[in-house]
Symmetry: D2
């Protein structure tokens, strides 16, 4: 299963990074591939949690320079797509876990809700319409995400 | 000035379409280029309002088939990018006017707020963080958008 | 009909630019929309030829800055896709006319041949496999391109 | 080092697939990441050669359905970009090895030459301008590619 972990980069809090690390660890231990935007904050923490526990991690970078990637990635893809890589991340995942919120994260959640990709949100924004499922912990988010079947798209 | 008009497609209400038509008309009369996603609902109404008043209208279609476009476009681009075309629309506009709301619209608003593109919203979603400027009418949205300088990006 | 005119930018010769201008003029007079990469050389000359004869011209820019566009465009789209915009140009056209050659032009011809978009080439590269139709003049290229039916894709 | 292996899909010959397998094996044994388009023919053979020798393999699929991927991938990304994923592959690699030729392969070679990504070609097309370096064997292609420094882009 391909699972995206989304959340703030530079602006992420310590608590958010700790939660993201835990999400990454649990997903890796369950054998899921962890996909992020490849940069700092929640993206780095989630990748690190997975990477340090034997998981496969993918970073879809917005720029065209691989050196911007955090050091916890099995595979980095410098997409050069700018913020359009947010849509690429959503498209390539069977489900997302959001840790915290930002406008970039909101764009990914909105694209996921638009295209039928399930989102579990820990401490994220409340939207005026049903979409992401709000959960209380990394453990609950991972458990509920893994209970879904990988989706088939066409 | 390149102005994007965003909002629901098939699910748009009659009132939203009437407002979008008015936004398109006012922008065309001011000489602005009107950019939309090129499909139905708010996109078609806004394009029609501009097109019937001599404006230049652009439709950035999600699919790769030009025939899906509404008939009120000076130029249609079948991007084949799927929902990633939402980001292309945001990137190519100096500012956006949202009429109503949907997850697709929310993704465009979030990408605009992420990348510094001003958004004026008529009857749209309220987000938990400041971003779009909520206004009461087509006239106010257009007046305030046109008062901005076209932005320079790099 | 949407027609792409492709060829070298800065490195274009005077003769290539004169031919591109003529191609743009003839397409505009036939009512076709002229699509280019929006920059200098063949792109600017073709756009100018169309623009000065009442045609609709579109420039799909590689960067995210509209100011890089040549001044002969009805609509410019700063795609920010870098060289991936070559594929967007091919995808959005019913056929292409190549004037001269370069690696960028070659990538567009190859993508067109790969996806079934007809290409007429004036003075362009000879490839080791059949693909572009080589013609001798702007007039012949335009006449043969316009004789094709706009294609339907899905 | 990220190395792309490009070549025909369904139309690949047995000899081309054998060469691609060997290229994948040698790159994996040297610790390079192998990137392909993720489908059949040369793409599958190269991925298999790397995968069966402990390498990390990435498939950048043109469609939005992961199920189209060959079974020899550490990571598959259903980009949904169609033929624009050819440009994404080029952008994400430090160098390419082409095995055989096709219009899709030619588009990747042209984009690589356009953007300064080195290409080594085994049995591929001869272009009318210098670009790819033609070599005689998998061993020579891999040796010369690995002798290059990973490039820095910006």
């Amino acid at each position: 299963m391909y699972t995206g972990i989304i959340g703030p980069g530079d602006g992420a809090s310590e608590a958010e990074c700790a939660t993201a690390y835990e999400v990454g660890r649990l997903l890796a231990q369950a054998g899921a591939v962890v996909v992020t935007g490849g940069l700092d904050g929640v993206m780095a923490a989630a990748s690190r949690g997975a990477f340090e526990h034997g998981g496969v991690t993918v970073g879809l970078l917005p720029g065209s320079v691989r050196e911007a990637a955090n050091p916890y990635l099995t595979v980095s893809i410098p997409t050069g797509l700018g913020e359009l890589r947010n849509g690429l991340l959503v498209r390539s995942c069977d489900g997302l876990i959001a840790v915290g919120g930002s406008w970039g994260t909101a764009s990914e959640i909105a694209l996921a809700c638009r295209t039928g990709v399930p989102v579990f949100s820990i401490g994220g924004w409340r939207f005026p319409q049903d979409g992401p499922v709000h959960v209380d912990s990394a453990e609950e988010a991972v458990r509920r995400l893994l209970a879904l079947k990988p989706r088939r798209r066409g």
